[in-house]
């Protein structure tokens, strides 16, 4: 250190000697670099050039540009170093401040929740921030080179490009809302804003733009709009208007539909008085009462009628409830529904129910429904009346059973059994006993169906047929008497005819004999006359004998009409004729007819007499049965060996196996009122058909009587 100028000495406030140890004056961060460069320059002779900080006398660190040049002698030896120190602190600080502010700007641009971009005045994209790249999922260069239009939603491209072109051409601000496709392929809504920046001379410099993600807001708006549309639609469809009302200051905020219901212009200023003036006079009192209850803060739900300006009568249902207190006053929110249609329908339903009830009363038909699953039974008013139970009493089978005639209880269990096996149709005739011991005859029919939940239920009707039943019973008695009379009279006719046939020749014989005697008693007997009389007597005797022969031939008629008989049809006819008797004996009839039954040649009437006889026997065999259903089963089916077979099974007293063989003997009977010829005649009829009639005891109670007769051989018709 040979020389230090005054400015340096002033700067450090040190002597030249003191400055020999200069290293501590260098900023610790710069010191090592300065020292090593300095010695490197001394060693190599290369010029020294460093920027670093030194401490001024007042302790402030200042930036200096330090440069050193070697001075050489003629031989090129370095004789001394000449160093120049320039204070560059002001400039250095300014540079730093600029760098710091640029860094800050960059942080702001990258951190702010927006997509920032710049473009040249002619619209060429020049800058995008990291958020844009991150959102779009592209490299900066690719974006700057490849453009941005293809990231737009196809529906937005045209409008955005048009707006941007317009802004670029005019320099006016750019503002659009558009959807941009993100890296995940989904579009989101962005609000894009851009302004053209100008330099100090006012020339266009850059477009500065920002895009803000408004997707959530946009979707919320869409939802809100949809919700509002739906609400309006719902109100319109349900004819329900809504309102918010402050009754104390008579302020009403009505929905569109509320106006429509009241047929007000939507601009109308609604007041309680305006509404009240439309209320039907008969409903005014209750309307006022409801409003005052509302004013007391009570929730109300009521129906009132209004007469609209066009003269229409409407039924309005109003629901009001207090929602909150505003400035100490209750605020009402509510709904107004036009229920005219349902009121009218309700009235129609009420009227048709009244008609039905009246019709049921007149015809004495009650109706019911019965859900099998849980035995839920519903009765019409008339059915309660028929059973003489108090209206609305819960109906159970126990309750019904308490009225059913004890003898008919098996019918009820049979019916329940059939219902549980889902029979399509139920039909019964049974009796019920009233508290005063009188008996009613009921006709019960029901059809199965599935309710909306798919559960089995029966819908049916019960008719009080007591009157008809009494008439039928009288008719049956009359018919039986008539039949008996016919039988007796036909016997009388037969007898008369026999008497006439026989008495004519007898009369002749007697007359002849008398004449003979008179002729012989004469003094001179008329022998020729006697001979003639004897001849006539012989003739008349032969005539009488002929009559007897003819009668015998008539009654022992061996031939019978042979025709092809369908045993199904023949049995059906007999069943129809026997129904009244079977019902009177409360017999439950089950039939089983055969399909494709071959015809059998025979005398239809005689076979029907046999069937009728078997049915009557079966029915009578059960007349004392009260502890089980009086079940009578008729089955018709083909029988092995090209035969057709009919069997009648009863649940009666059954057969004593020792007596089975005697059953078919003439005059054998187990019945108190029978002649005992039915089964023997039946058997002879079946045998004359080359068939067989037999009886077997049932496994359970009762017996089965069956017959089989040959069918027409296959392939033979008629």
């Amino acid at each position: 250190m040979e020389f230090v100028n005054q400015r340096i000495l002033d700067f450090y406030q040190k002597t030249t000697e003191e400055l020999t140890d200069w290293a501590p004056l260098i900023h610790p961060e710069d010191r090592e670099a300065v020292v090593s460069h300095w010695y490197a320059s001394i060693a190599t002779g290369k010029p020294y050039d460093q920027i670093h900080r030194v401490r001024r006398a007042d302790g402030e660190w200042r930036w200096f540009h330090s440069r050193g040049l070697p001075l050489r002698d003629a031989s090129g030896q370095i004789v001394r170093w000449c160093n120049l120190l320039v204070d560059i602190d002001e400039r250095k600080k300014a540079e730093e401040a600029l760098r710091s502010s640029q860094r800050e700007l960059s942080v702001i641009i990258e951190t702010m929740p927006g997509l920032v971009w710049c473009a040249s005045p002619d619209g060429e994209l020049s800058y995008v921030n990291g958020r844009i790249l991150g959102y779009l999922g592209v490299e900066r260069n690719n974006l700057l080179a490849g453009g941005w239009a293809h990231f737009l939603h196809p529906d937005d491209v045209a409008s955005v490009v048009a707006a941007w072109s317009n802004s670029v051409a005019s320099g006016e601000a750019f503002e659009v809302q558009a959807r941009l496709r993100g890296a995940d392929g989904a579009y989101r809504w962005f609000h894009s804003l851009s302004q053209l920046g100008r330099d100090t001379e006012g020339n266009p410099a850059q477009w500065y733009g920002v895009m803000i993600d408004v997707d959530d807001r946009k979707r919320a708006e869409e939802k809100l709009e949809q919700a509002y549309l739906r609400l309006a639609e719902t109100q319109r469809l349900s004819k329900t208007g809504s309102f918010i009302t402050d009754l104390l200051v008579d302020d009403h905020n009505w929905s569109e539909e509320a106006f429509r219901i009241f047929e007000f212009d939507p601009a109308t200023k609604v007041t309680v008085k305006l509404i009240r003036d439309m209320v039907h006079p008969e409903d005014l009192q209750s309307f006022d009462a409801v409003i005052s209850r509302g004013l007391d803060g009570e929730d109300v739900d009521f129906v009132f009628r209004i007469v609209t300006p066009r003269g229409a009568l409407k039924h309005i249902r109003g629901v009001i409830c207090v929602t909150e207190q505003v400035a100490g006053r209750p605020l009402f929110i509510g709904a107004l529904q036009d229920v005219t249609q349902s009121k009218v329908e309700e009235e129609q339903v009420r009227r048709s129910e009244a008609f039905l009830a009246e019709a049921q009363r007149l015809t004495r038909i009650g109706s019911f429904s019965w859900r099998v699953e849980d035995n839920e039974i519903r009765w019409s008013v008339e059915l309660y009346r028929i059973f003489e139970f108090d209206q609305g009493l819960p109906v159970t089978f126990d309750l019904i059973g308490s009225r059913v005639h004890p003898d008919d209880l098996p019918l009820m269990s049979d019916m329940i059994g059939k219902a549980q096996s889902a029979a399509n149709h139920l039909e019964y005739q049974h009796r019920i006993v009233m508290p005063n011991r009188s008996i009613k005859h009921l006709h019960f029919t029901a059809h199965s169906r599935r309710d909306p939940e798919g559960r089995l239920e029966y819908i049916g009707a019960v008719q009080d047929v007591t009157q008809r039943h009494l008439a039928e019973a009288a008719l049956a008695t009359a018919r039986a008497e008539l039949a008996n009379a016919a039988k007796i009279s036909s016997l009388g006719v037969l007898t008369a005819s026999i008497a006439h046939e026989v008495s004519q020749p007898l009369s002749g014989i007697i007359t002849n004999a008398s004449t003979c005697l008179r002729m012989l008693e004469r003094d001179s007997p008329n022998v020729d006359g006697v001979r003639e009389m004897a001849r006539l007597t012989l003739r008349d005797g032969k005539r009488a004998s002929d009559v007897i022969l003819r009668l015998r031939a008539l009654f022992s008629k061996k031939e019978f009409a042979r025709e092809p008989v369908d045993l199904n049809d023949a049995a059906r006819e007999v069943i129809v004729l026997s129904l009244t008797d079977l019902e009177r004996n409360r017999v439950i009839l089950r039939t089983e007819f055969a399909d494709d039954l071959p015809l059998a040649p025979g005398d239809r009437i005689q076979l029907q007499q046999v069937i009728s006889n078997l049915l009557r026997n079966a029915s009578e065999a059960m007349s004392a049965v009260n502890d089980r259903p009086r079940l009578l089963q008729i089955a018709i089916r083909p029988h092995p060996g090209r035969q057709v077979c009919l069997s009648v099974a009863d649940a009666g007293v059954g057969l004593d196996s020792e007596r089975i063989d005697r059953l078919f003997e003439p005059f054998y009977t187990t019945k108190s009122n029978g002649m005992g010829i039915g089964l023997s005649v039946s058997r002879s009829i079946i045998e004359s058909h080359q068939g067989r009639l037999w009886a077997t005891p049932n496994e359970g109670p009762g017996a089965t009587f069956s017959f089989s007769i040959p069918a027409i051989p296959q392939g033979v018709r008629e």
Binding site: A496, Q504, L506, S507, G508, T511, M519
Partner: protein, 124 residues
């Protein structure tokens, strides 16, 4: 025996009666005539001479009671003895009420017939 034999007519569709009765009537001393139907009798020439009519009830065509009425209409007041194989009492009462002398059920005895004829001819 009286000089003049009373004419007694028999109307019956039964051949046995028509063959037998005339012999007995002759034995009784009457003059018998036999006809097989009411129509045949009405058409004959003996209606006005007949002093007693023995008449069957049931006949094909005109019946006995119908003939009884027809004769009344024509002004022939002939005593009638009905004979019938029918044991119907109401029929018997009916013809007696209409003025018949007697109604005999076949077969009848000769005495019963004779008594009936006697009372018929007496009324004549």
């Amino acid at each position: 025996m009286t000089a003049k034999r009373s004419l007694v007519s028999v109307v019956d569709d039964d051949e046995a009666v028509r063959d037998s009765l005339p012999f007995l009537l002759a034995e009784f001393g009457y003059a018998p005539r036999a006809f097989s139907s009411a129509e045949e009798f009405l058409a004959s020439d003996v209606v006005s001479q007949t002093e007693c009519l023995i008449l069957d009830v049931m006949m094909p065509g005109m019946t006995g009671p119908e003939l009884q009425s027809e004769l009344k209409v024509r002004g022939h007041d002939i005593p009638i003895v009905f004979i019938t194989a029918n044991r119907d009492d109401s029929l018997r009462r009916g013809v007696l009420a209409q003025g018949a002398v007697e109604c005999l059920h076949k077969p009848f005895s000769d005495t019963a017939l004779f008594n009936a004829l006697q009372s018929a001819l007496r009324t004549n």
